[in-house]
């Protein structure tokens, strides 16, 4: 078993060798194809998945290794991975709720990045109030026929499969009668249309299911228990899956420190920026501590409780602040080399615009505050719905 420090060192050396220098300098130039090719090579190496259980080819070394993995990738300039939805959200849910044959069919290709996933939760009338979802799955011989629409589905255009929440029991409302289905995105009747985002990109899509047949063995967890399966997935999304983003913040602040270190700043602006940078660094470090704490609690089977919601809330707000700050610095510095300035400006503008999603997805900040207030502090239900 490799010691954590050796693992970190070895992975850093490997990444220095394989990550193109251009990725660090101009992350905006990375294409999805290049990233995916890089990922699929990475997933075949000894560095990936040591935290996974031995049953799926891991070494069961625990979440600390996963945090280190994400941290080293962020330091090396690797952007958010395309396979992250499947590996960070679907995989733990599959290992928890899947039948042996589902695990056999889906775990290995998800881990190797050959099978890509999207998450079919939100609908136009079911955002924060997720239990209001209306997509129907009618029972037919040998499976289900799915009819309905999902929206704000990340990476739908690349995904091979979608893990979707649907109503398998007609006439039910709210949390009852929901199931999670694993839907092949190439089935007849599946259509996705890209949605233009505020940052100009179209990573989001609307997904339409027009009488899509899904076989019986593609239901994850017992029929009708989809709500608790989904809550487990959201718990992963608010804890482990967030590690990558939390540790990425520290690397991003390193970019701001570099900009400030080599910049000619007018007047007292540099001093003001240093104060903002210092506050952001403290928050980034605390987020790493929170990730380590959650990892420790998960490994010791201590319930994560509301720490997941707290961490998601704190991270999304801290990251938005950092992105706005980085963009301001990038547009106020002047260095000797104009190409570097342009690279930095593109990078930070993209980050600022895309970061606006972070307080909305995976439970809005308002929903996280409801969770902290009701589950954490035991406050009574009053004038707003619970999540």
């Amino acid at each position: 078993v490799i010691a954590l420090a050796d693992y970190e060192k070895g992975l850093a050396v490997y990444l220095r060798r394989v990550v193109p220098g251009q990725w660090r300098r101009a992350p905006g130039t990375i294409t999805t194809g290049d990233l995916l090719a890089f990922e699929r090579t990475l997933y075949r190496t000894e560095w990936f998945g040591v935290w996974l259980p031995a049953s799926v080819g891991g070494q069961g070394l625990g979440r600390r290794y996963q945090i280190s993995f994400e941290r080293e990738l962020a330091r090396a300039g690797v952007p958010d991975r395309v396979a992250r939805v499947g590996q960070n959200l679907l995989l733990p849910t599959l290992l928890n709720f899947g039948t042996p044959s589902q695990v056999d069919a889906f775990a290995a290709p998800t881990i190797s990045g050959t099978l890509l996933w999207c998450q079919g939760f939100s609908e136009t009338e079911a955002g924060s109030d997720l239990a209001a979802l209306r997509t129907q799955a009618k029972k037919v011989s040998g499976g289900f026929v799915v009819r309905g629409q999902k929206v704000w589905t990340s990476l739908a255009h690349l995904a091979d499969f979608c893990f979707a929440l649907v109503r398998t029991q007609p006439g039910t409302r709210k949390h009852g009668g929901i199931s999670m289905l694993l839907i092949d995105m190439r089935s007849p009747g599946v259509e996705h249309r890209p949605i233009r985002q505020i940052d100009g990109r179209s990573e989001f899509a609307e997904v339409f299911f027009d009488d899509v047949f899904v076989p019986d063995d593609r239901i994850l967890g017992p029929e009708g228990s989809g709500w608790s399966v989904a809550m487990a997935t959201l718990q992963y999304e608010r804890s482990s899956a967030n590690f990558a983003r939390q540790v990425r913040l520290t690397a991003e602040l390193g970019r701001i420190a570099r900009m400030l270190g080599r910049a000619d700043l007018p007047g007292g602006l540099g001093e003001l920026y240093l104060h903002r940078l210092g506050a952001a660094i403290a928050k980034a470090r605390i987020l790493e501590l929170a990730a380590e704490r959650i990892a420790w609690q998960e490994s010791n089977e201590v319930p994560v409780g509301t720490l997941g919601a707290m961490t998601k809330l704190y991270w999304s707000e801290a990251h938005q602040e950092a992105a706005a700050f980085g963009a301001e610095v990038a547009h106020n510095v002047s260095y000797r080399d104009p190409a570097t300035v342009a690279d930095d400006q593109r990078y930070w503008d993209a980050l600022y615009f895309s970061s606006r999603a972070e307080t909305i997805y995976a439970g809005t900040s308002q929903i996280q505050r409801n969770i902290i207030a009701r589950r954490g502090l035991g406050l009574p239900r009053g004038d707003g719905p619970a999540q």
Partner: protein
């Protein structure tokens, strides 16, 4: 409170300390002597040459946490408790003497510096003695201590020297000011050519260093302050949650209003983040982790900044009785304010973090040479 302590033993200590603190009123000194009498705390100097590990960090932080949770840490002796760990890091005769006096129940006050603030200046002589002059603001106690530990900036020595003075020394005078909030008074010390022999020099506080006993002593004192801040945020949150569940307006408890719930959720969030930073700092100091220095600044920034926000929000949610002395929040507001003025302020600490990040940035000193293969590159 149990979230703070990572072992059953620590939880027990916190509970005992809280009970003793409640019985002893707001006096940290009374708590200390009570605990000492019960054999729970041993601050006595070890024999010279013996192991001087000092008070164990889990025990000490549990003690500080319990007192601050219960009393707001504003009482006299609070400063002495904050110095306990630093005293065992400084292996000087003066430190041994001070520890045995504390163990005997003597009241020795400490004036911690506000970094960057006004300090007594000292001139170092060849025989190791100092001549000190200047004014030092704000002892929290009433000036009745027999001895006072004072920070001195000596031009020829790095860091801040901590020295022990007799309050009876004719070259020392005190100026009493009316206090604010629950403090009856604050005390200014005026030193006029006070001679301090080498044997009264305790050791250094070094806020700028990254290692060494001066940094460790500084970090230990900051850990104490941050532990108190974390305890107070928790105490104030607990009180406010309880209050909002019972305070009726518009025919229902105000805790049912989402505006109130979200404010409480923010308080809980910030308190939890501050707590994580303190626990990490305590662990780093126990394990002599080189990351300890940067964690000091992370923790002081978070604890100081967030404790202030939390107490202010608590006052807001308590309404009128939060502003008056009825709810008892005045103790916490004063104590948090005082803790933020002890050693580096949250602002000083975030500036320190930024400086060390800019210095550590690999390309900070000179722009990185451009890569030839890039089409945009120029020599």
């Amino acid at each position: 409170v149990t979230e703070f302590a990572s072992s059953d033993e620590q939880r027990t200590i916190v509970e005992v300390v809280r009970r003793v603190a409640r019985e002893a009123g707001r006096s940290g000194g009374a708590v200390l002597s009570e605990l000492h009498a019960r054999g729970l705390v041993d601050v006595e100097a070890a024999e010279p040459g013996a192991d001087e590990a000092g008070i164990p960090i889990p025990l000490w932080t549990s003690l500080l946490y319990g007192i601050a949770f219960e009393t707001g840490a504003a009482g006299e002796h609070a400063a002495t408790l904050r110095l306990l760990r630093a005293l065992s890091i400084w292996r000087t005769p003066a430190s041994r003497d001070v520890r045995s006096r504390i163990a005997d129940g003597e009241f020795i006050d400490v004036a911690f510096p506000q970094i960057g603030g006004r300090l007594v200046s000292g001139q170092l002589h060849d025989d190791g003695s100092l001549t000190c002059a200047g004014t030092l603001a704000c002892l929290r106690s009433d000036g009745s201590a027999s001895q006072i530990i004072v920070p001195v900036r000596a031009a020829s020595a790095g860091g801040i020297l901590m020295v022990v003075l007799d309050t009876g020394d004719p070259s020392i005078s005190m100026g009493l000011h009316p206090g604010f909030g629950p403090h009856a008074a604050t005390v200014d010390l005026i030193l006029d050519g006070t001679r301090v022999p080498e044997a009264r020099v305790l050791g250094y506080l070094d806020p700028d260093g990254s290692a060494g006993p001066g940094m460790e002593a500084f970090a230990a004192c900051e850990l104490a302050v941050c532990t108190e801040l974390a305890a107070m945020t928790r105490a104030v949150l607990d009180r406010t949650v309880q209050f909002t569940k019972t305070r009726m307006q518009f025919g229902r408890p105000i805790a049912e209003f989402q505006a109130v719930q979200h404010e409480l959720a923010n308080m809980a969030l910030l308190g939890e983040m501050a707590l994580l930073s303190v626990l990490a700092l305590a662990r780093a100091l126990e394990e002599s982790d080189p990351a300890a220095r940067s964690l000091v600044s992370v923790a002081k920034y978070a604890c100081g900044e967030y404790a202030t926000k939390i107490v202010e929000a608590a006052i807001q949610l308590h309404g009128g009785i939060g502003f008056t002395w009825e709810a008892g929040l005045q103790h916490y507001l004063v104590a948090v304010t005082e803790a933020n003025r002890t050693l580096g302020s949250p602002t000083w600490h975030r500036r320190w973090l930024a400086d060390s990040a800019v210095q550590a940035a690999p390309e900070a000193a000179a722009p990185q040479p451009l890569v030839v293969s890039s089409p945009q590159s120029r020599p």
